[in-house]
């Protein structure tokens, strides 16, 4: 359809057109996503290649000061009068060398074996004394820290050579060399993004990225309850943990557990997402219907449940759903005879249904909140033209409201889906994973992958297996999210205002 044809459509048709186009393009976008990943790696390697080439060129073209700055950080800056900046570079180098000697190298050198010195018992009179050997876990963790620090210093080093070379150019062209004060000032304007990002990015690098790399590495070791530092060593095992999970024949119970829990996780995520979404939207529509009074009261009734911490409300729900809990008491009072339904403890199907229903109680208020806002934003002319076409309220809902909502919230729907795959609280607090079964390894019928992961880490110390599960969960979530994120309008429209 050409632009001119599109412009002539009425808003209603325009919308329908956009809506169908959106889904028509889906498969193409999925493919584009994987192509993008490929492109990313190509770019990465060419980028590295270019960087190395530039690094060499700068050295060749550089004067004596530039060349020396390849060995002594900041020398180029000293030579051109930027004393403070040069000192900062130099301080980095000195600090790094000190760091490597005292901390970095001792750990990094054991990285390939993760330690060899065993823990020993030494006689001490009538007593025994434990002399601990290498701690594989700390060796691995500190190695990751060392590698991370090295990367940062490498970045500073390259910046240092670039800076030295740039100063040489500026000087030869006779241009003004910025003083330290001027450069500092620039951080509030031209380089404001550096100022804004440095603190958060540092925090994220230390407390999210480094631990994450550590745990990804753990997935390739045998760090579990039979190999627990500081008492015993663990070491690299390659893909063994993954093959235990995905290969049913050799993985035994772990493999079965993984496959069945994955199925349930997906079923759970689908139901949890769509029940919340559809029911929440219906309630939101009812509240926002013209002529309904006390809108804010109704909304508050639902929203108030968001403010109660989930560990309180869900633990309470757990109590209420027991055989002697409030729900059974209520049912007994209503029916006049004793009702004792086992909601959570014995029947797998019953427990799963209960969990999904309770999740509605938890999740619907969130949908109501966001849906109310969106509903108010639907362009009135859409309804106008529909009414002219003779569409009744039902038709208006199915042809405008629903598609519009879907269209606008599709990206957030996927976010919610991913969120539900990782929805720890509802499952853990409500059922604790139960009812227990003999068929799974350390998991029950309502356990989803993350709650299993948690149990393996906290109760079983099976860190290796847990890390492998975490990586697999991540791969699923990341694929889903990146596809939708690249698809979502916001990525393309964010420049609309610029």
């Amino acid at each position: 359809m050409k632009y001119i044809d599109y412009k002539q459509l009425n808003p209603f048709q325009k919308f329908a057109y956009n809506f169908t186009e959106f889904f028509k393009k889906l498969p193409g976008r999925v493919a584009a996503f994987f192509k993008a990943i490929g492109r990313f790696f190509v770019k990465l390697f060419t980028g590295i290649g270019k960087g190395v080439a530039n690094y060499v060129t700068r050295f060749i073209k550089g004067d004596f000061a530039v060349k020396l700055s390849y060995l002594i950080f900041g020398f180029g800056n000293f030579a051109k009068g930027q004393i403070i900046k040069g000192l900062l570079f130099l301080a980095t180098e000195v600090a790094y060398i000190y760091f490597m000697i005292t901390f970095g190298w001792p750990n990094l050198s054991k990285f390939n074996t993760l330690g060899t010195v065993e823990t020993q018992l030494v006689d001490d009179g009538p007593f025994k004394k434990t002399v601990f050997g290498d701690n594989s876990m700390l060796i691995l963790l500190y190695s990751v820290v060392t590698i991370a620090v090295t990367f940062v210093v490498l970045f500073i080093y390259i910046t240092n050579t670039k800076s030295a070379y740039k100063l040489q150019q500026l000087k030869s062209e006779g241009k003004h060399i910025m003083t330290f004060k001027e450069e500092t000032k620039d951080f509030l304007d031209g380089k404001f993004h550096v100022t804004m990002l440095s603190l958060p990015v540092t925090l994220i690098a230390i407390f999210t990225i480094m631990p994450l790399i550590f745990m990804i590495l753990i997935a390739f070791t045998n760090y579990n309850k039979s190999h627990m530092p500081p008492g015993t060593l663990f070491t690299w095992v390659g893909f063994e943990n993954f093959s235990q999970l995905v290969n049913v024949t050799t993985g035994g119970k772990r493999g079965v557990t993984f496959i069945e829990l994955t199925q349930w996780t997906i079923i759970w995520a689908i139901f949890a997402t769509f029940t919340n979404y559809i029911l929440g939207m219906i309630v939101a529509l009812m509240i926002n219907k013209k002529g309904i009074k006390l809108k804010s009261l109704w909304r508050t009734l639902f929203v108030i449940t968001i403010a109660v911490p989930q560990f309180v409300s869900l633990l309470l729900m757990n109590q209420m759903l027991q055989v002697n809990g409030a729900i059974n008491i209520l049912l007994s009072d209503i029916t006049g005879q004793e009702v004792a339904i086992q909601f959570l403890n014995t029947n797998a199907l019953m427990a799963r249904i209960t969990v999904i229903i309770i999740n509605c109680w938890v999740g619907i208020p969130y949908t109501i909140l966001s849906a109310s806002g969106i509903l108010m934003n639907i362009p009135a002319d859409l309804y106008e033209s529909a009414r002219i076409d003779g569409a009744g309220p039902v038709k208006q809902f199915t042809k405008i409201t629903l598609p519009y909502m879907l269209f606008v919230t599709a990206p957030s729907l996927i976010t919610q889906f991913v969120g539900n795959i990782n929805n720890f609280n509802v499952i853990y607090l409500l059922t604790g994973g139960g009812p227990s079964t003999e068929r799974f390894y350390q998991a029950g019928y309502t356990d989803i992958l993350v709650t299993w992961l948690f149990k393996l880490t906290m109760n079983q110390q099976d860190y290796d297996l847990a890390a492998a599960i975490g990586i697999l969960v991540f791969i699923v979530c990341a694929t889903l999210s990146l596809i939708t994120f690249n698809m979502s309008k916001s990525m393309k429209d964010e420049e609309a205002f610029s």
């Binding site: 009179g125 009538p126 434990t130 309850k225 627990m228 002697n324 014995t346 003999e438 029950g444 109760n459």
Partner: protein
């Protein structure tokens, strides 16, 4: 007076300890110092070089005050040494997890239940007991046995009571009726009250197979696979059927609930009897007051024969952290805390059943209805030690299946299948 007795006792213990250890280690300052220190009530030579000692001790909340008192008494025994002891509340069930997470911030001396010993020994974070011969001589064999791996004892026995017993309202369950499960259920039904046990929890539900003669028998050499004693399948299945049938016959009386509901049920008058853990003794006593009744688990009628219910039974220990900064002082303190005196004090103040033979024979313990009930049940029990991680879930599931509405107690084949599947899955690592 008490202090002097305690002091004398400590000396006696140390003397015994040396008698044992002297033989094992031919050299070492410990044994030579030991002989010279004999007879003095404040023999500090055991500590060796250690001084300015600071120790952290973990105990469950209920015992904190008593534990502090006992630690103070311990410090007073050694006026020449500077000892400071920090007593921190930490539930026994979490102790092992915390120790595995980070042994260096964990307590030097800590209370732990029997089923965690294996884990800690594998991770090498628990120190072997130094006063082994003394421990063996003074404590119940089963308790010592459960802490022994490869002939080495890894923790000091503290109690022999970490199990469950029958608790009942004696205005509901008539005197004499507490001996049989059938009559208990009948009494509860007549009074319109509940009989509560946690049938979906492997700790309790294992009684359904243990009673039939199927018992655990340690682990295979891999340290992971569960072994079982020889058993007669027909007996086990018949017992399971008997339980299942009772629960179905009394379905409105029998409730499978977490054990904390028992005390709540007593206080609100809805519960007539229950199978509860020993940690809830105080709550149950308070809830029932004069109507409190306690007994060992009852019998169940299997094909005309009354069989004593066999339960899972654990013990509590005091362990020494392998990362302790003052290993000698920690061992001496752990030994002190599990001495006859301290155990008796705990029996008197907290109602904990002692593992020390002399303390168990004391008049107080013999006259205490709860502790005697628990110790009587210990006679008919399987030790909670050397259990596979895979033991609990399949057992819990077995319990859930027995009480499930759709289960037909008369279907022998289905029961047989359930039993075999459960065992296969426990063994499948």
């Amino acid at each position: 007076m008490k202090k002097i007795i305690a002091g004398l006792l400590a000396v006696m213990m140390m003397a015994t300890a040396f008698a044992g250890c002297g033989g094992q280690t031919s050299t070492g300052e410990g044994s030579s110092n030991g002989s010279s220190g004999e007879g003095s009530s404040t023999d500090t030579s055991l500590f060796g070089e250690e001084d300015n000692i600071s120790l952290k001790v973990w105990g469950p909340d209920a015992s904190i005050n008593l534990l502090k008192k006992q630690c103070d008494a311990f410090v007073a025994l050694y006026p020449e040494k500077k000892i400071s002891i920090e007593v921190v509340a930490q539930g026994e069930s979490d102790a092992a997890t915390q120790l595995l997470n980070d042994a260096s911030t964990a307590a030097d001396v800590f209370g732990l239940p029997s089923d965690q010993i294996n884990k800690l020994v594998n991770a090498k974070v628990i120190q072997e007991v130094a006063f082994a011969d003394e421990v063996k001589a003074n404590n119940d064999t089963n308790v010592v046995e459960a802490a022994t791996i490869d002939d080495k004892i890894y923790a000091y026995p503290e109690t022999a009571d970490n199990g469950y017993y029958l608790v009942y309202d004696n205005s509901v369950v008539k005197s004499g009726d507490e001996a049989k499960l059938e009559t208990i259920l009948e009494d509860c039904k007549a009074a319109g009250k509940k009989f509560i046990m946690d049938a979906g929890n492997g700790f309790y539900s294992c009684m359904f197979v243990f009673t039939g003669g199927l018992k655990t028998d340690g682990l295979e050499e891999d340290g992971l696979t569960q072994k079982f004693t020889d058993y007669n399948e027909d007996d086990v299945v018949a017992t399971m059927q008997a339980f299942s049938k009772l629960f179905h016959d009394y379905s409105s009386t029998f409730q499978s609930l977490e054990v904390s509901n028992i005390a709540s049920g007593f206080s609100s008058g809805t519960c007539g009897a229950g199978i509860d853990g020993t940690w809830d003794v105080v709550a149950n006593q308070t809830a029932l007051g004069d109507k409190y009744g306690a007994a060992k688990l009852p019998t169940i009628n299997v094909n005309g024969e009354d069989k004593q219910i066999v339960s899972m039974f654990g013990y509590k220990y005091v362990g020494v952290n392998a990362a302790a900064k003052f290993p000698r002082a920690a061992q001496i303190l752990a030994n002190y805390l599990t001495s006859e005196d301290c155990q008796l004090e705990r029996a008197q103040e907290l109602g904990w059943g002692p593992s020390n033979k002399a303390a168990a024979q004391s008049d107080f313990v013999k006259n205490n209805v709860t502790i005697s009930a628990i110790l009587a049940q210990a006679e008919n029990s399987v030790a909670q030690a050397d259990l596979a991680d895979q033991f609990w879930d399949p057992m819990g599931n077995l319990g859930n299946q027995l009480i499930a509405e759709k289960t037909d107690p008369t279907n022998t084949d289905a029961m047989k299948q359930l039993l075999n599947e459960t065992l296969t899955n426990i063994k499948d690592v």
